[in-house]
């Protein structure tokens, strides 16, 4: 077992959890305001594709990252427009966005790069940097400095979110429109404007998560590269009971499960000498989410007004 539980497993966990944390935190802003965000998967893909394409042309990961944030926010704006202004079903619209972003990046990459579904390789110096770039004087500590700065950013976002959500008037209003929009409205909060902000925030954060996938962890965009991470992030959000720090811990747990499946391949054996099927480890996040949602391990309660459009009384 010592072959598995190593320091590299820890850092592998951090790497794999980073996009989950960003997407889940994004989802938190949206869902705390009362809008279900099934579209995290599509938002990750939008961010990932935009980051890779823009970085390829602009030769700068920062421009790519910025573009990914804008792309994520814009797509989220479409979701917000449909769900808030036109009172579309939030889950259905989210599903539409997810399917749209399986197709659209592939169509665009086919036209831009003549390869359906993937962008060209981006040279290593144009990728989002790891910490080592800024602290080059500790080669012996390479394993610690090999962490992407986006991972650090993700941690910052978690604690900023916790502060914003529980310690600022903005956070109070955001939670209020998600719990009881009528009361919030009566207290003078612009319910729908808060929801727009919440959903667009989720797009911006998921956009960063997507950029990390394509120009941080990897060096190009490939078709459907989010591979269900948007849904795992959603699961982590529920597992973390819609709270920032708990959600991050849930992401780390799910990232750990993911890291284990990679590390265990061909290493760990059952007592009978067979490989442990990775599929069972892959299932863990999903099974845990169902159990938590059913209330077997503590209650996980969604914001009360989650999923319902708000119609102002006339």
């Amino acid at each position: 077992m010592r072959q598995i539980f190593t320091l590299s497993l820890l850092f592998s966990t951090i790497r794999l959890a980073t996009p989950l944390v960003l997407a889940a935190l994004g989802g938190l802003y949206s869902e705390r305001s009362g809008v279900i965000n099934i579209a995290l998967e599509g938002l990750l893909l939008a961010g990932a594709f935009t980051a890779a394409s823009v970085t390829y042309y602009a030769h700068s990961p920062w421009v790519g990252l910025g573009a990914a944030i804008v792309a994520g926010a814009s797509v989220a704006y479409i979701l917000a427009l449909a769900c808030i202004r036109f009172k579309a079903d939030q889950v259905v619209t989210g599903t539409g966005i997810n399917i749209l972003f399986i197709g659209l990046p592939a169509v665009l990459s086919g036209a831009l790069f003549l390869s359906s579904g993937s962008t060209p390789q981006i040279p290593k110096e144009n990728l989002l940097p790891v910490l080592a770039r800024f602290v080059p004087f500790m080669p012996a500590w390479r394993i610690f400095t090999d962490v992407s700065i986006i991972s650090l950013l993700a941690v910052v976002v978690v604690f900023v979110t916790r502060y914003v959500l529980y310690r600022t008037p903005f956070g109070l209003r955001l939670r209020a429109v998600g719990e009881n929009p009528e009361a919030a409205d009566a207290a003078g909060v612009a319910v729908n404007r808060m929801r727009y902000v919440g959903v667009i925030m989720s797009g911006a954060l998921a956009g960063i998560g997507g950029a990390y996938l394509s120009i941080g962890q990897s060096s190009l965009f490939t078709r459907n590269m989010a591979a269900g991470r948007g849904f795992i992030a959603l699961a982590a959000l529920i597992f973390g009971k819609w709270r920032p720090v708990q959600t991050m811990l849930a992401c780390l747990l799910f990232g750990f499960a993911d890291a284990m499946t990679i590390q265990m391949q061909g290493v760990a054996k059952l007592p009978s000498g067979e490989d442990i099927p990775v599929q069972f480890i892959q299932m863990i996040p999903y099974v845990l989410t169902i159990i938590v949602l059913a209330g077997f391990i503590g209650q996980s309660r969604a914001p009360k007004a989650l999923g319902t459009a708000y119609q102002k009384e006339r």
Partner: protein, 368 residues
């Protein structure tokens, strides 16, 4: 007037989606008209165009009906994808366990050697029951614990995929096969292609008996929902749960029943896929059928007739995508996924068309 509106909104939504898609195509540098001509025009040739379109429509009819039934009960089943995988695997399992083995299946021992007349119905039943169970789980979870079916069905989709990949890889694959697929089902478990019965339709076109089952399923769903007491109770639950409960309907029972029926319908995709087409379980075969089913149901107004027509429309696009890939310079067949996504968004947000329609006097002003 009501019927007109029921038809009008979906048509406008599709048209709007095509306009947006056309703009994307134009920006990319191809001709939108040329692209749409390829995308739609190739579906109407006999026999290939029509044969393949109906074949492509078959799974979408099943998943569209599945989503529609759940929707009528006020539930959103976005787990049709997982349900159809479980069902297809169950059908394949019965197919290779209970019939004389296919020539290239030398690895799996049989429990029985049943004749086709028993084996085919058993496989179909296995698919429906497996789908119903996988759909019923989130129904039970919702009825008993109040946990939201949307999240649970998403989670069960992933669990199904992982579980079946495990069974395929570790237990039912022919050793050395590089493809993630099970051993083939017994020849006695296969459904005949319609080409055997329709003159002029070549047997190479995989349109098979499952399509007939899909048409029957449309009729049965209609009869069930609108002509039986159970269907009435289900729709009443969807329309107004508290009123239904006050009227003596057990909402919990309706939720479980609706999800199980929905899952069973989604599971019938397995009949088309395993018995009618590939004759084995192929890991990851579904081209998002479960999710496109949401678009089909929505566009079809959750009515069997609408579902049938919407499934045909999406099947036309699926078929046309191949030609777009081959004959346009820049646009790839991925445009089909893109269009499906845009259609879903427009159908969901149909309220955006209300304003303009009112302006042109096509809709009565809402009385406030």
């Amino acid at each position: 007037m009501k019927l007109l509106r029921e038809i009008l909104f979906p048509l406008i939504a599709v048209f709007a989606a095509f306009v947006v898609g056309g703009i994307v195509v134009w920006i990319i540098g191809d001709s939108p008209f040329q692209t749409y001509k390829l995308l739609i025009g190739s579906a109407f040739s006999w026999p290939d165009g029509i044969g393949y379109t109906l074949f492509n429509a078959t799974p979408l009819i099943f998943t569209g009906l599945a989503v529609a039934v759940a929707f009528r009960c006020g539930l959103l089943n976005i787990g049709a994808e997982g349900q159809l995988y479980v069902a297809a695997f169950a059908a394949a399992w019965v197919g290779f366990k209970f019939g004389a083995p296919a020539p290239d299946n030398t690895v799996i021992s049989q429990i029985a050697h049943l004749p086709a007349i028993l084996l085919v119905p058993m496989c179909c039943l296995a698919a429906i029951v497996a789908g119903a169970i996988w759909g019923g789980i989130p129904g039970i979870l919702k009825a008993k614990f109040g946990s939201h079916e949307v999240i649970n069905t998403i989670m069960l989709n992933f669990i199904a995929v992982a579980l079946l990949s495990y069974f395929t890889q570790y237990h039912y694959k022919i050793p050395g096969d590089a493809i993630m697929q099970t051993a083939p089902i017994s020849p006695n478990a296969s459904l005949p292609t319609l080409g055997r019965f329709i003159p002029g339709l070549p047997a190479r076109i995989p349109l098979n008996f499952a399509f007939i089952l899909a048409v029957i399923a449309c009729i049965l769903v209609y009869v069930f929902l609108w002509k039986t007491k159970w269907g009435y109770e289900m729709r009443a639950t969807g329309a107004n749960p508290s009123a239904a409960e006050y009227g003596g309907i057990s909402i919990r029972k309706q939720i479980i029943l609706a999800m199980a029926i929905s899952g069973g319908l989604a599971g019938m995709v397995g009949i088309n896929e395993v018995l009618g087409y590939r004759h084995r379980y192929y890991d990851g075969f579904s081209a998002n059928y479960g999710f496109v089913g949401i678009a089909v149901a929505l566009l079809g107004r959750n009515h069997p007739v609408g579902v049938f027509l919407a499934a045909i429309l999406f099947a036309i696009l699926l078929r046309g995508g191949i030609f777009v890939d081959a004959y346009t310079i820049h646009v790839s067949k991925d445009i089909v996924d893109m269009l499906q996504g845009i259609v879903i968004i427009f159908v969901a947000a149909e309220a955006m068309f209300r304003g303009p329609l009112k302006k042109f006097g096509l809709m009565k002003k809402a009385k406030v």
